[in-house]
Structures are given as structure tokens and as C-alpha cells.
């Protein structure tokens, strides 16, 4: 089998407070593999770990355990200045890159690509008034058609947020309190009671979305 575009294996990020007696305040765990180019929708409340997951994928946040491999390369072994050639994090309209340099780049791997393979869109500003949504969705589709992996992270608070996710995303990931679950399609995600609770009034009636 060919090398997956993205492999997240046994990934753990823990945050703790306390100097002597460490108390864990947040723990994120993920195991996900994406073999083919896909548009993935990520949902979850604020503070659930969506952005942390993105940072771990782009190599701007160091995991407590586990690995992230993009096109077979461990992102933390890739030169800092070239990591964005593998995975790129767009925060709203800006692109974010901040790497804590813990090793000399000289000894690290090249990215091997000129243009990012994994594109992570963190809460893009979707506004129905200005028409940009249409261009943004087409851009996601274009990246996918080029064989890239696209993540669109959203905290839906308007019905059209879900509508556009259902339109463009093929797979889904739900993040709740650091727990990450993948779903093969929109319908199966909506079967989850946790997700229905999270979506509240936005959750479509179950009859509309049987898997």
C-alpha cells in the first residue's frame, strides 16, 4: 500500500500545572490515518483541542508522545523552515508558523515538496454576505483534486455552517475535551448523541441524514 498522506499515530499532548505535584489540565489523544486526498471537516467546541491538533500536525507544537507523518516524513524531523511545505495552518485569514527550535535544522530532513500537501483551515471566516464562501469551497476542492489533504475546522453557530460542511467535506472529525473521533460521513457523525448535544438546535432531524 502506498504511503498515507497523513498518519497520526499514538499522538498525545498533555498540559499540566504544578511544579512538584503535576496535575494534568488537558490531554489530547489522536490516532488517524488519511490515505487519499480528502476534505475533512473538523467540529468541536472552543477549547476542545482543534487548534492544538492542527499545531501538532504542522509541527509547531511538540507532542508529549506519538508521531505525525506527512507523506511518510515525521514532521518533527523536518527542517523548521520547510515544515510548511508539508503542512500549512491557516488561522482565519492569516497563515501561522511558529516553531520552537529545539534542534539544529542542519541535521534535519528536507520537506521534499515546494507546495504544502496538508492544508489546515482553522475557523475560516465564512460570511454569506460577501460571496467568498463559494470561492473558498472551490479552492478546497481544487486542492483536493491536486491530491492534497484539506482540513476545515469550524465551530458551527449558524445553520449554513453545517450546510457548507456537508456540501464540501467527505470525512469528519469531532473533537471534544481532547478526545478525537473520526467519522466516514456526515450522517454517521450526526448519529452520535455527543455531537447532537454539541450542535443543539443546529442538529438536523435524524430522518434527514441517515447514513
Amino acid at each position: 500500500m502506498s504511503v498515507p498522506i497523513l498518519e497520526i499515530e499514538g499522538l498525545v499532548k498533555r498540559y499540566a500545572t504544578g511544579l512538584f505535584q503535576q496535575k494534568e489540565t488537558f490531554r489530547l489523544e489522536a490516532d488517524l490515518t488519511f490515505h487519499d486526498s480528502t476534505i475533512v471537516g473538523i467540529l468541536g467546541p472552543n477549547g476542545s483541542g482543534k487548534t492544538t491538533l492542527f499545531e501538532l500536525i504542522t509541527g509547531s507544537n511538540v507532542p508529549s508522545a506519538g508521531n505525525v507523518r506527512v507523506m511518510g516524513r515525521n514532521i518533527h524531523d523536518v527542517k523548521y523552515a520547510e515544515r510548511d511545505r508539508l503542512a500549512i495552518h491557516y488561522h482565519q485569514s492569516y497563515q501561522v508558523r511558529r516553531y520552537r527550535r529545539t534542534r539544529p535544522s542542519l541535521l534535519m530532513q528536507a520537506a521534499g515538496h515546494d507546495y504544502p500537501i496538508v492544508h489546515l483551515f482553522d475557523e475560516p471566516q465564512f460570511n454569506t454576505q460577501d460571496g467568498y464562501i463559494g470561492f473558498m469551497l472551490d479552492f478546497f476542492r481544487k486542492l483536493r483534486a491536486q491530491g492534497r489533504l484539506v482540513f476545515v475546522c469550524l465551530h458551527p453557530n449558524e445553520p449554513y455552517h453545517l450546510e457548507l460542511m456537508e456540501e464540501v467535506c467527505e470525512r469528519y472529525v469531532f473533537v471534544l475535551a481532547g478526545r478525537i473521533r473520526g467519522f466516514p460521513n456526515f450522517g454517521s457523525m450526526l448519529q452520535e448523541p455527543d455531537i447532537r448535544t454539541y450542535l443543539g438546535k443546529l442538529a438536523p432531524s435524524e430522518a434527514e441524514h441517515l447514513p
Binding site: I88, S93, Q95, R98, Q125, D130, G131, I133, F135, D138
Partner: protein, 247 residues
Amino acid sequence: MALFEAHGIHKRFGHQVVLEQINLSFESNQLSGVIGPNGAGKTTCFNVLTGRFKPDRGQVLFDGEDITGLAPNGIARRGISRSFQIMSLFDEYSALENLLIALPEVRKRGFSMMRRLDADSEAADRASCVLARVGLAGSEHRRAGDLAYGERRSLEIGVALAAEPRLLLLDEPTSGLGADATARLAELVRSLKSDYSIVVIEHDMRFLFDLADTISVIHWGQVIASGTPEALRENKWVRRSMLGRVE
């Protein structure tokens, strides 16, 4: 071959990648629009195209000539004239004087001649013509500083036209203008369309969708969509937005 082209432009400022693989192509005798939300990289893109910033990678071609990394004056000399988002007029000077000092023949003669501008009736005639062209006939002797905001914007376009450009670049021409002034500006730009190759960078989509022959949409420092306004309007989400509504 397009008149003005950008291939694979990449520009980074420290941690921030502002432009990523920008490809643009502007044809002669067309009005090409570039739109994008705030912070999308439009102005940086313009600054690379006009030589204010050197790209980290990529090429800018004007009429087939590689002008990547040339200084702004070198680019201007090749016939690319730019108006700025931030006004750049001499407020103490009259509208006519602002145009006179932008005329190529006056610029060539330099400072000594500029003090006797009024004596050069031929240059003054040409400046008056440009002034009329941008809808400011009769305002020759008003100080630029006394003109209304919309008139100043028109005068700025006049200054760019006085240089007899082969390509006119307008950076956010509607910024700061009210609805009436924007409508007047749209008429002015429309009237220039037949005689000039124009590139307009705007955040006001409606302004461009009404005027442009082709539009490129920049977001996240990349060209995320491009096409004719009609083709771009086909998109369901665009039809649902303000742009899609028929007035």
C-alpha cells in the same frame, strides 16, 4: 501572451507567508480585477508586481520582459503607472499643477522648468485634457487639498494617466469613498476601459463585478478562484450573497 504576468510568486516576512504561489495574468485592453478580504495579501501582491518588494521566488513579466526585482522607478519607466491606496497628492499645489509635474515631458526637464509651469501652454493644455478626462474640468486652479475626497481620488488617477501608462494599476480606489463617490468613480473607470489596460485591486466586490472583464480572487495569500464575473457568479454561494441579488 498576456501584457502583465506573475508566475509562482512567493513572499515571506519572517514567520508570515504572505504570498504563496501566486499566478496572475492580465491581458491588454482589459480591466482585470483582483479581489480579496482584508489581510488576504492583495496589497503585498501589488507591491511585488510594482517592484516595492522583491519576491522570494517567482517571476513578474511585463510584455514578455522579466521585471522581477526591478526598482519601482524602473518598472514605472516601462509604462506601469500606479495609484496608491493612500493618497499621494501635493496638497499645496493646484489640481493642474499636480498633473503638470506628472507629465513625462515636464519630468524630463526637471526642477528648473517646473517653476515656470504656467508659461508652458502646451503642457498646460495636455494637463487640462487629463483633468477633463477624469471629470475635473473647471477645477484646474483649485488646491488639491481643497478638493473633496472623491475628487482627490479622481485627480490621483489623473496623475497616473498623465504618465501615459501602458498599464494602469489602481489600488483600492474606492477605499474611504461613500456610495455616491464610488458610483462616480465606477463611471470614470468604465470610461477609461476602452483606452487603457487596467488592473484594479479592490475589496469592494460589487464595484469590480460590475466593471471587470476578468477577476482573480486572492485569499490566504493565494489565488483561490479566477474567471469572468459571469462565471464566478455561477457559484451557488456567490448567488446567495449580496453579489447575487438583483437590485
